[in-house]
Amino acid sequence: MSKLSRRNFIRTLAASAGAVALSPVLAGCQPNQNPATSEPTQPAAESQLAESTSTQALNSPTQTSPVPCSGSDSQPCDTPSTSPVEMAAPTEQVKEPAEPAQPSAGIPDLAVARGGEPEDLVRRALAALGGIERFVKKDARVIIKPNICTDYHTYEYATTTNPWVVGALVKLAWEAGAKTVQVMDTGFGGSPKSGYDRSGIQEQVELAGGEMVVMPSFKYVSSPIPDGRDIKEWEFYEDILNADMLINVPIAKDHGSTRLTLGMKNLMGVVLNRGGLHANLGQRIADITSRIRPGLTVIDAVRILTANGPTGGNLDDVKKLDTVIASPDIVAADSYATRLFDLKPDDIRYIVAAADMGLGRKDVENMVISEV
């Protein structure tokens, strides 16, 4: 036996590792990719640049909010000229993202802003909810989850979340003193990067100082769903589970099986094996929601897609509503959004399932709604 030199040993090792790595390439002729929840974008059909010019934020959360602070906050909220840092303090209860902020006396369950530029709509809606500081604590690690389902079309096609809505939330998070603001989604058509680019979201997020993150496969973890009724365990993106604050920013769209894709459906973008969810989609979306529990849901209805969703591509299916719906209660936000399509919350199975599990309320008629 000749002595094995170190060099030869390392070569042999490398060759073995290569062989091991190669075997799944052949064996795994079955990709595990599955459908996502998001939507696409397309060429500028109308001069939409005006959207970026909405600089006069009406109710900037750094200014004193006209709406009283959440009653559960211990701090007085009528302090004049409150700095963002001070305002951040009263949001103790939002610390745990799994428990959405509880609505309380004086604070509406849900805010709807209509008419105006997208950034303005977001700021008004958030101000009506008591200000962003209610949701984003100082030094919080914030993740914003828009819907970037494909790289097919630009934002005018209402398949991906409006870029200025996402940008406004990034700005608001910084204004509340966030430590990091990341924006991420994994769509089902084209690569995430090309989707980020095509949707225009990358540009607005970076202008606002946020970070677009491509979600690598190795960051998904299997996690139990204690309250799940149909599924008890699924693979989630780890950072989404660990974020101090998750802001869910879906676009309201038509969707074949669930009829509409809204806030809860948007959460499918942060799990693996989405094909596996379709077997009992309504309940399983609710189960996924019970594990993720975003602290704030902002539904973009600047444009909505009324048919051929979620992929879209036909401007005739797009309706411009200039509306933004915001609520800490994801079920309430989704329930209200059904009205935009002349539907009722009970028409959407995942809303019914989530309300039944106690994840939020669907009785729109009894909610305290602030229309601004």
């Binding site: 799944p24 002729c29 496969s217 960051k219 074949g256 036909n314």
Partner: protein, 512 residues
């Protein structure tokens, strides 16, 4: 310039050419460089370009670049092989068996006898002969296509898995999480696919490249000496090369150049002369020669030189006959009449055009961002071996991508604009109602409808009342394909949640 500087220059050029090849390989799916830059190496390949011109009886403008390599060869012989060829450089990077003296001190020649070198010419003649009869099948033996294909189908997917596995482990180490995420965000968009790519015949393509490298252990650059058809082509041209290696009168026969020669073409029994068709002008012999200034020279020589191997008329005729017979047999195979219904071609391809232009370079396979394009095995008949077909279970034709046509160096896949490509019908989806979750199991699913990228969806859901086994009624959404809308992109088949074969499959349109 001293000889060691020339050698340094050669090694630098070899390195640059290999790095350039790899850079273009890596950049192919990024869409940030012009696709006419990405396919540059293939357009430099005179064998592939000549063969596809012969097969298609046409001249693709981009292939004119290959004339540069022909001119280079007519001046400097097989310098392509010694100075530029990326596969040759890869072979140089791996350890190899070098010529040495036997125990008795006599020079010991490695590898098969010199007459075996004719195999590369025979391969070349058969390839060109088949091209003349319209078949490009054997171009899979071209060294550039071998390297591109093996990197695409085997090496890179495997490398991605190794890197991802390492990242998966390391990212759980608390203090490494941030660096790993930064590393991944930096490296993955440039070098690695965003998700695992699967390829057909990955092991086979790995073995082909590994085998060629392993032959180095029989003799250094075994592939270049005995098999490479491109080497054979350039070797033919080298017969007329201007610069050749010449040994001067006062050679003392020290045999050092013989042991240094990577292609083993220096013949101690013939005054240390070499065959210009085998010499790659690597200059290693000059470096080895103790009296390099005077003994070995490269200088212009006018007039043809008789190489060791000059194909006789008989051998040329044999090769042509073999080529003609092969093509005839390929086309007599039943597969030629009845190609697979799953022979879905890249968008815009016309079957006859594709078969007479495709040089098997695998550039489209590499550029396809979803890994949908795969080498055909028998789908396109024997003749269509390793031509590109769309396998929707491995990937789908991205609605927002037209890379394959843009990158194709021979226009086997037409360069469609995105708008043209989005309406190009490549196949039609058919639902297997015996397996579909909605049809067969009466469970709502509709993934296919959701995924359909068309502005007017080609899959519609019809609500129907069905009776379950317990007699109860249920309303279910059943998917239907509106065939006149479907373009066959295959995302429905790709995403179908069934295990194994999908319940919706894209086929070549049944009406032809």
């Amino acid at each position: 310039m001293k000889i060691k500087h020339w050698i340094l220059l050669r090694k630098a050029l070899q390195g640059l050419a290999l790095i350039g090849f790899l850079a273009l390989f890596l950049a192919a799916p990024l869409r940030s460089w012009s696709m006419q830059t990405i396919n540059l190496p293939m357009r430099l390949d005179p064998l592939a370009m000549l063969a596809q011109s012969l097969a298609s009886r046409s001249f693709v403008a981009g292939s004119a670049l290959a004339i540069g390599v022909i001119v280079l060869t007519l001046v400097f012989g097989r310098s392509w092989c010694g100075w530029l060829c990326p596969l040759g450089t890869v072979l140089d990077l791996f350890p190899s068996k070098k010529a040495s003296r036997s125990s008795s001190g006599e020079p010991y020649r490695l590898g098969p006898r010199g007459s075996w070198r004719r195999w590369k010419y025979i391969l070349l003649l058969v390839i060109l002969g088949m091209a003349l009869f319209g078949s490009l099948t054997l171009l899979f033996l071209d060294p550039l296509t071998i390297l591109e294909r093996s990197l695409t189908a085997a090496i890179w997917p495997a490398l991605d898995r190794m890197v991802t596995a390492a990242e998966t482990v390391l990212v759980r180490v608390p203090f490494l999480e941030e660096p790993i995420m930064k590393f991944d965000a930096l490296v993955r968009p440039i070098l690695l696919p965003e998700r695992f790519i699967y390829s057909r015949s990955a092991v086979l393509f790995a073995f082909i490249l590994a085998g060629i490298i392993a032959l180095n252990m029989v003799a250094r650059r075994f592939w270049c000496r005995y098999l490479c058809p491109l080497g054979g082509f350039l070797g033919f041209l080298s017969k007329f090369a201007l610069f050749r290696r010449r040994v001067s009168e006062d050679c003392k026969g020290c045999k050092l150049c013989f042991t240094a020669c990577p292609t083993g073409t220096i013949d101690p029994e013939n005054g240390y002369a070499s065959d210009p068709a085998e010499c790659t002008l690597c200059l290693d012999c000059l470096e080895a020669c103790p009296r390099s200034d005077i003994t070995v020279n490269l200088e212009p020589v006018l007039g043809p030189w008789k190489p060791d191997y000059d194909p006789s008329r008989r051998q040329v005729l044999y090769s042509l006959a073999a080529a003609a017979t092969s093509v005839a047999i390929f086309r007599s195979d039943w597969l030629h009449l009845q190609p697979s219904p799953f022979q879905v071609r890249p968008p815009g391809s016309i079957e006859s055009e594709l078969m007479s232009h495709c040089v098997r370079c695998a550039e489209c396979l590499r550029a396809c961002p979803t890994g949908a394009l795969q080498p055909a095995i028998s789908e396109a008949g024997i003749e269509g071996l390793w031509t590109p077909i769309l396998l929707p279970r491995l990937g789908y034709c991205d609605f927002a991508c037209n890379a394959c046509g843009q990158v194709c160096p021979t226009q086997a896949i037409p360069a469609l604009s995105l708008e043209e490509k989005q309406t190009q019908v490549i196949g039609k989806a058919y639902i297997d109602e015996n397996r579909c979750i909605a049809w067969a199991d009466h469970t709502d699913c509709i993934v296919c409808e959701e995924m359909c990228p068309l502005p007017e969806k080609a899959i519609q859901l019809d609500e129907q009342q069905v009776t379950l086994s317990d007699g109860s009624q249920k309303t279910i959404k059943l998917p239907h394909v509106l065939r006149e809308r479907c373009i066959g992109c295959g995302i429905c088949e790709y995403k179908c949640p069934l295990v194994g074969e999908a319940a919706i499959r894209v086929r070549v349109s049944a009406q032809g």
